[in-house]
């Protein structure tokens, strides 16, 4: 009887020890578990970055200073795109006005002036092109500019 009880208690002890070992083993990070944790951590970081970028794009500054990250990007765009476009526009306006000024100096609007002005204003926005054409129109309407027969049109 005692022997049976001893065996049962021994078995229970072994099982308890084994179970205890299993629980500890579960908590100890293995190579696989640590990789998983790292991926989760990375995903968290990516998620936070996306949220920060979204906040920056709608103009809401976030606590992490993402607005300051957005500002250099905008200035780079201006350098790469905005300034040359603005410079080309200014140059085209200057060229167009020069053509008008030259014609006003002579008092005659020729076919060459028509084609030169068309060329310089073809890439301009409507407002800018119309402003230059308005100068020609005002000069014609006030008889300061005579349209040469070859020009046919103003």
């Amino acid at each position: 009887m005692n022997r049976i009880a001893f065996v049962v208690i021994a078995c229970l002890g072994v099982m308890t020890t084994f179970l205890f070992y299993l629980r500890i083993a579960e908590r100890v990070p293995t190579a696989g578990n640590s990789g998983e944790a790292e991926i989760i951590a990375r995903l968290d970081r990516i998620e936070k970055s996306i949220a920060q970028l979204a906040a920056t794009r709608v103009g809401a500054p976030s606590a992490t200073g993402s607005a300051t990250l957005a500002a250099p990007a905008a200035s780079v765009l201006a350098d790469l795109d905005g300034e040359p476009v603005a410079a080309a526009r200014a140059s085209a306006i200057r060229d167009g006005n020069d053509i008008v000024d030259r014609a006003l100096g002579v008092g005659q609007w020729t076919a060459d002036d028509v084609s030169a002005l068309a060329q310089s204003t073809e890439r301009l926005d409507g407002e800018a092109a119309a402003a230059i054409h308005a100068r020609v129109a005002a000069a014609i309407n006030s008889d300061r500019l005579k349209v040469a027969p070859s020009a046919v049109r103003p």
Partner: protein
Amino acid sequence: MKRKTTAFAIGAALALGIGAVAYAGTHTMFQVTINDPGMFANGDVSFVHETPDVIQYLYCESQGTNAFCAARNLAGVLRTCSTANPAHLAAIHSIGTDSYLLFRWNAVGQCTAVTVRNGSLTVPKV
């Protein structure tokens, strides 16, 4: 012989009658008019096209986002204006060969109004 003459007379009458119906209705026949005090010019595009002189013209030219209009009357007076106004551009883009056109200008050469009329009032361009 008499039958042939009658048939010819009926045919001629029908032809004339049909012609009369085709050209019925009230028509404006405006040459290019330039009114400097009022600062406007107008005319019927098709009628001006049909005038025997080679002096008058009336048109608008569009570049899509800007346009200008020009009119020269029989006396050789030319008036013009320039615009980028979307309402003017829409009117200009509706000009057809049989349209009536009026445009107004200001002291700096801008168009201040562009009026286009399309309908039965003008005689069609031949």
